[in-house]
Symmetry: C2
Subunit: 88 residues, 2 copies
């Protein structure tokens, strides 16, 4: 068994209002940052997977994300699984 | 003025207990995912910056992150600023 490193980004779908992002955007504007727009805040999830191959690791990671880590009604995700242990 | 696209990842520092990640890890274990470990959950923030150059856009983005988007006591961040408008 080898260790693989998975990186998942979960974001709200384009059409969904990002309330947290909007709030931060307004705060930045009051701080003088008027050149910043369209802030969207999602989740960046990392974890280790123990598996016999990269393909198996990808399968496990995808299943975990499908099962628990995102809401298919309002979110989309991208997932990357690598051999080495990444930094972030 | 051109539009630039910024992508920021904010994660808890290595030594800091990630309570949210721990909770998700335990939930995954009860769902049968016992090959997954060390889940860490951070933020993935994207926004647009209007600026005269890529360097100016980077400066604005860095200042915004320093000012509002992360907590230097417990978090670290990486930031990427690009010319084109990215997907996520």
């Amino acid at each position: 068994m080898a260790k693989y490193f998975a990186k998942v980004i979960v974001m709200l779908k384009k059409g969904i209002l990002d309330v947290q992002g909007k709030t931060v955007e307004n705060s930045l504007k009051t701080l003088g940052f008027d050149k910043i727009a369209d802030i969207r805040i999602g989740k960046h999830i990392t974890f280790e997977v123990e598996a016999n191959s990269l393909d198996e690791a990808k399968e496990i990671a995808n299943a975990a994300v499908d099962k628990l880590l995102y809401n298919p009604n309002i979110e989309t995700y991208t997932i990357e699984v690598e051999n080495s242990t990444g930094k972030l």
